[in-house]
Amino acid sequence: MPVDVARMTKVFERPKSLTEARYTYCPGCHHGVITRIIGQTIDELGIAERTVGIAPVGCSVFAYLWYRCDAVQVAHGRASAVATGIKRARPDLVVFSYQGDGDFASIGTAESLHAANRGENITVIFVNNQIYGMTGGEMAPTTLVHQKTTTTPDGRDPATCGYPIRFSEIIATLDAPVYVTRQALYDTRRIQDCTKAVKKAFQNQVDGKGYSLVEILSTCPTNWRMSPTQANEHVANVVTQVFPLGDLVDRG
C-alpha cells in the first residue's frame, strides 16, 4: 500500500545550508555525516549568511562545494591560521575550519596549536580517520600501532614511527580553549551526541566565548579495507580504546 507523504509530517530533510552537490566521498565515509551535521547546525543557529567555512587539503578539499555559505580553500595544514586571519579581520563572521588528521595534527601542528593557545574565537572540526585517504592510504599521525597503511606496510611500528598522537589532549592542556571534545559517529546515539557537540562548538563562537574544537573519530572504509559497517564496529571496539570519547575541556 503506497503511503501518502502529504498526510504526514516531514521530520528529517536535507539541511537548507547544504547545496545540492553530491559528495565526492567514498560510500560509507563519515565525512558526509559530519558535513550534514554542520549544515544542520548552521540552519538551527540561523547563521548561514555570516558563516565562512574553510576547506582544507585532503579528501575534504571540496568542502567549499557543500555549503550555501562563503568559503575559503587553503593550504595544507594552515586552516587554523587562515581562520584566525578571517576572524580577526571580521569578528562578526562565524568562521569554522574543517581539517583532517594529517592537516590538523601533522603538517598544521603549529598553526593548530597556536590558534587554540590564542583562544581564537573560531570553531574547529577535526576529522580523525587515522589515515591519509586522498593520497592513497598512507600513515597519519593518528594511525594506530600495528595498523597497516601504504607507508607502514607491516603495520605502524612505534620504534620508528612513534605512537598515535592524541592532539585534542594536547590542546586540552592549554588555558585558552573553552571547549575540547572527542566524538564519534559509529551509531545513532554517537551521531546525536556529536550533533550536540558541534552545535555547542558553533554556539560558543556565536556567544563570543572563544576557541572550540570537536574531534570526530571517522571511518575510511576504502583505505581500511573494511565494509562501512565493519568500519563502524572498528571505531566502536578498537579506535575508541586509543582515542577515548568525551569532553576534555568545557569552560562554556
Partner: protein, 351 residues
C-alpha cells in the same frame, strides 16, 4: 597637514601601511626588520586594528591569506629566511587573487647568512619563489621617503589587481634614519567594497576563494586569467628613474640602496668628466625592459651594480641584449659597495 618625521625605513613602511588602511598585520620577529613589527605592535591595537605575533612565518602569511579573503587591507613583513618560509602562502595568495602586501628587508644569504644588507633575494622575489606560474608586483625603494610612498602604492596596486605586492627593501634601508613626509591617513571604510570577498553570503550567492581546480581545462583558464592580469600590469605599472642618461656613455643599472650609493658614484664620475648616468628600476617586476633597451641604444656600456652575485644583471642583459656592453659589479654577504668602489668599476668600463 602632512607630517614630517625622522624615521627608520622599517618604521616608515609600518607607519605608511597604517596610513594606507592596513587593518591586519601578522609577522614573526627577525632581524633586520624587527622595528617594523614593533611599530605595528605599538600602534595597531591602539587603533582598534589587528596585530598578531604569529607562531611562524608560515602561519603569518596564512593569516594574511585569511584577512585578505575577508576583504581587508593586510600585510606581513620579514627578512630573507622568513620570506623563504612564506613562499607557500605567497603562491596561494597569487593563485587565489588575494590583495596583500609583503615586505622583505633583505639580509645576507643563503641559509642563515647574516643580518647585513643584501639584494640576494631578487630572483626569489621577481621570478616567483613559490610554486606555479605566478608573479607578484615587486617594488624596490631606494630611500626611506620612497619606502613610505611605495608602501602606499603597494596597497593600492594590490587592491587594483587583486595580487600580492612585495616591497623589496634591504637591511640598509630598513635601519637608515631619514626625514619622511608621511601621507594623510585614509579612512579604511572609504575604500571600495570588495564584492568578491568572503564576508558572509547575505543576499547573494556564496563567494568562494580558491586556487584549486582538478580539471586541467579549468585550471588552464584560471592560469590564463592570471597571465592576462600580468600583461595588464606590465602595460600599466612599470616604474623607473633615469638620471643623467641623455648624454651618457655609460649607464649604471642599480636598484634600492645600491642605486642611492651609485648616485654618489655618478656625481664623482661626472666631476672627473666621465659621462655617466643611472637607470634605476622601481618596479623590479614588472622589469622596465623597454625603457632600459631604449637607453642601451645610445650608450656604450650598461654597468649593473648589485649587492648580489648578479641577479638583476640577468634582466639587464635580457633588456640590453647586444646593444651595449653589460659588465657587472657586485658585492655579497652583506658587504655594501661604496661610491669609491663603484667609481673604480666605472673608470674601468668607461675607458
Amino acid at each position: 597637514m602632512a607630517l614630517r618625521q625622522l624615521l627608520r625605513g622599517n618604521e616608515a613602511i609600518a607607519e605608511a601601511a597604517i596610513r594606507a588602511g592596513c587593518m591586519c598585520y601578522f609577522a614573526y620577529p627577525i632581524t633586520p626588520q624587527a622595528e617594523l613589527l614593533e611599530h605595528m605592535a605599538r600602534n595597531m591595537p591602539r587603533l582598534g586594528r589587528t596585530f598578531i605575533q604569529a607562531e611562524s612565518e608560515v602561519a603569518a602569511i596564512s593569516m594574511v591569506y585569511g584577512a585578505a579573503s575577508a576583504g581587508v587591507r593586510t600585510m606581513t613583513s620579514s627578512s630573507s629566511p622568513g620570506i623563504s618560509l612564506k613562499q607557500e602562502g605567497i603562491s596561494y595568495l597569487a593563485g587565489s587573487n588575494l590583495p596583500s602586501v609583503i615586505v622583505n628587508v633583505v639580509r645576507g644569504g643563503p641559509g642563515l647568512g647574516n643580518i647585513a644588507p643584501s639584494q640576494c633575494d631578487y630572483f626569489q622575489a621577481t621570478k616567483g619563489g613559490g610554486h606555479g606560474d605566478y608573479h607578484m608586483i615587486v617594488l624596490g625603494p631606494s630611500t626611506v621617503p620612497e619606502a613610505a610612498q611605495l608602501t602606499t602604492l603597494a596597497f593600492d596596486l594590490a587592491d587594483l589587481y587583486r595580487t600580492p605586492v612585495m616591497i623589496l627593501a634591504d637591511g640598509l634601508l630598513g635601519q637608515m634614519l631619514e626625514p619622511v613626509e608621511l601621507p594623510e591617513p585614509i579612512d579604511p571604510a572609504s575604500l571600495p567594497r570588495k564584492e568578491w570577498a568572503a564576508t558572509g553570503a547575505a543576499g547573494r550567492d556564496p563567494n568562494i576563494i580558491l586556487s584549486f581546480d582538478l580539471g586541467p581545462d579549468n585550471l588552464k583558464r584560471m592560469n590564463e586569467a592570471l597571465q592576462a592580469k600580468y600583461r595588464e600590469i606590465r602595460k600599466r605599472e612599470i616604474r623607473y628613474e633615469e638620471s643623467d642618461v641623455a648624454d651618457a656613455d655609460l649607464v649604471i643599472a642599480a636598484y634600492g640602496s645600491t642605486a642611492r650609493i651609485a648616485k654618489s658614484a655618478l656625481q664623482m664620475a661626472r666631476a672627473e668628466g666621465l659621462k655617466v648616468g643611472l637607470f634605476r628600476p622601481i618596479t623590479l617586476w614588472p622589469f622596465p625592459y623597454d625603457a632600459l633597451r631604449a637607453v642601451a641604444d645610445h650608450v656604450d656600456t650598461v654597468l649593473t651594480v648589485e649587492m648580489s652575485a648578479g641577479q638583476m644583471w640577468e634582466d639587464v642583459r635580457l633588456a640590453v641584449a647586444e646593444r651595449a656592453k653589460t659588465p657587472f659589479y657586485g658585492e655579497m654577504g652583506g658587504v655594501v659597495p661604496t661610491p669609491r668602489s663603484i667609481l673604480n668599476e666605472v673608470r674601468k668600463d668607461a675607458r
